[in-house]
């Protein structure tokens, strides 16, 4: 029996939640998802996506690209204008309450109850996730330890820092070990060490069998955590695959960067080349003395596909 099956078994034994159909290998199936707001804005324009059970996918995209709208529809917060969403074989549009029993959700902007202590917050919300008192206490202890909030257990949430509050929101999603986690920019606003702690918690959830969909602006986060990465731009899923698959989409995968010596502000210039020799040849032609050559990264894929640029940078494909 796999870890995932063991977890599902335990949860089912508790009789507490709607567990997914084990024969279903796809955790989330999205087809032709369209979201049109009342003002006519089309935030999602026909997104198709399959998320396999037990994998972690990251959704990247510029601000306003439709990432949050996409996640809000998956988490049943927004009703789609068209298309379908299935969570473990269940229709998320028709049965929002049922599918939410299988999800842990961290919205991008959610508040906390400042007068409650950290422990009270977790225990009460664990009870709302249908855990028994004993299970709620155990889950609270587990999440508090995992998120490094042990010293804050008895403190009022109002006295915590922004990063600690964000960790509480992530912890609320993790309570009860739901089989699907939907995390909208979970580490935004966290300092580097907190971010590492959260990454560890998310990866552990995947190891324990959870499927995770998260949106992020951090390339490093997507690279380090994800099994597959999706890029949304202008409401469309323009790329989806493993990091290697995405890098393979670049025809020019060598990146040459240098500071323009003629520019008074030393503007950063970036050029892409098909191979190393071409890159070296350009360095020689341009008589560059200070430069850097690197294999293309997810960041390069992202900027190439979305048509965006690094701040203050001039990009050119050779």
């Amino acid at each position: 029996m796999t870890t995932e099956e063991t977890l599902l078994e335990q949860s089912q034994a508790r009789g507490t939640r709607q567990m997914p159909d084990r024969t279903e290998s796809v955790a989330v199936r999205v087809r032709g998802l369209v979201k049109r707001y009342a003002d006519g804005t089309e935030a999602n324009r026909g997104i198709d996506l399959d998320v396999r059970r037990g994998e972690l996918i990251s959704i990247l995209g510029p601000n306003g690209a439709g990432k949050t709208t996409f996640l809000r529809q998956i988490s049943t917060e927004l009703r789609p204008s068209g298309g379908s969403i299935e969570i473990f074989g269940r229709n998320a549009v028709a049965e929002p309450q049922r599918v939410k029993q299988m999800m842990g959700i961290t919205p991008q902007e959610a508040g906390v109850f400042e007068s409650l202590t950290v422990r009270e917050h977790f225990e009460l919300f664990a009870r709302l996730k249908n855990l028994s008192k004993v299970e709620a206490r155990a889950a609270t202890h587990e999440v508090i330890s995992a998120l490094g909030l042990v010293a804050e257990t008895g403190k009022r949430v109002g006295s915590l820092s922004g990063g600690q509050r964000r960790r509480i929101l992530i912890g609320l999603a993790l309570l009860g070990q739901p089989p699907l986690l939907v995390l909208d920019e979970p580490t935004t606003g966290l300092d580097p060490s907190s971010r590492l702690a959260v990454w560890g918690v998310i990866r552990r959830a995947v190891t324990d069998g959870a499927t995770v969909i998260l949106s992020t602006h951090y390339m490093e986060e997507a690279e380090r955590l994800s099994d597959r990465i999706g890029i949304i731009a202008q409401g469309r899923l323009i790329a989806f695959g493993t990091l290697d698959e995405l890098l393979g989409r670049l025809e020019r995968s060598y990146r040459l960067s240098y500071r323009d010596s003629l520019d008074p502000f030393g503007k950063l210039c970036v050029h892409y080349f098909a191979n190393f020799n071409e890159t070296r040849a350009h360095v020689a032609d341009a008589r560059l003395s200070e430069y850097s050559i690197a294999r293309a990264s997810l960041e390069d894929v992202y900027f190439t596909l979305t048509g965006e640029h690094f701040a203050g940078e001039e990009t050119e494909n050779a």
Binding site: R17, Q97, K100, P107, A110, G111, F113, E120, G158, L169
Partner: protein, 246 residues
């Protein structure tokens, strides 16, 4: 069973959240209505010396307290939950919106019981002659709370901003008391307002509370009117509270 647990948890969250705001709660629910009772007595002149008038003032203050806690205060808490993003936490859970509202109603009943008891004690200390019928009074208070909470929930779910919602709940919480014949008789009101004002829920509530304070159980028609209004406002409130947006 699951539903009961959900309702109790929402109730406990709100109750625990109030720990830091107990002072303002007392100000809103007790001090203001009690002061209004004393004010009405002071300006009532000769009329205020009669026990009937003092009973009306006390009943009016109880209704005022219920209105402030049910519409203004609970409306404010719901607006706070909505505009600070706390409502999203509930929306992420497999929790029925109706359980969320029912948890709030439980919280409102506790507030109402506290406020009404203290005002009855104040009335007793100030020498108001009364023989309250507790079961009938409890029924009236519950129906009034249900009806007025419905208004609070409707405003909180529809307001476009925290400020707008807050102003509306405050205006309605006080307005429903002062536009109805709560502290004064209907005859003293402008003719055109008289009929409309007597149809307000606070008018039925004040009359029913006064009747129960005199020891009578003759609250049938007022309780029925309050019940009908409670069903109507709560039905609308339940319909308007949705986790999923279009």
């Amino acid at each position: 069973m699951r539903r009961v647990t959900d309702i109790i948890c929402v109730f406990r969250i709100q109750l625990m959240s109030m720990r830091a705001e107990a002072g303002p709660f007392f100000l809103a629910a007790l001090v203001f209505p009690a002061a209004m009772y004393l004010f009405a007595n002071a300006v009532g002149g000769v009329e205020a010396a009669q026990n009937q008038s003092r009973l009306r003032f006390l009943a009016g203050s109880i209704v005022f307290s219920l209105s402030l806690t049910s519409i203004s205060w609970l409306g404010y808490l719901q607006l706070e939950n909505r505009f600070t993003g706390r409502l999203k936490l509930f929306a992420t859970l497999p929790l029925a919106p109706s359980s969320y509202i029912l948890g709030f109603l439980g919280f409102a009943f506790v507030q109402a019981a506290l406020g009404t008891t203290v005002l009855l004690l104040i009335g007793r200390v100030l020498g108001v002659g009364m023989r309250p019928s507790i079961p009938a009074l409890t029924l009236v208070v519950m129906l009034t709370v249900l009806c007025l909470c419905g208004f609070g929930v409707i405003i909180a779910s529809r307001a476009r901003s925290f400020t707008e919602g807050s102003l509306l709940t405050d205006a309605l919480g006080a307005g429903l008391v002062f536009l109805a014949p709560v502290y004064y008789t209907p005859e003293t009101m402008p003719h055109n307002l008289r009929i409309v004002s007597q149809l307000l829920p606070t008018a039925f509530a004040a009359r029913a509370v006064r009747t129960t304070l005199m020891g009578s159980h003759q609250i049938g028609s007022d309780a029925l009117a309050l019940g009908v209004m409670a069903v109507a406002t709560l039905a609308l409130a339940f319909k308007m509270t949705k986790w999923r947006k279009d």
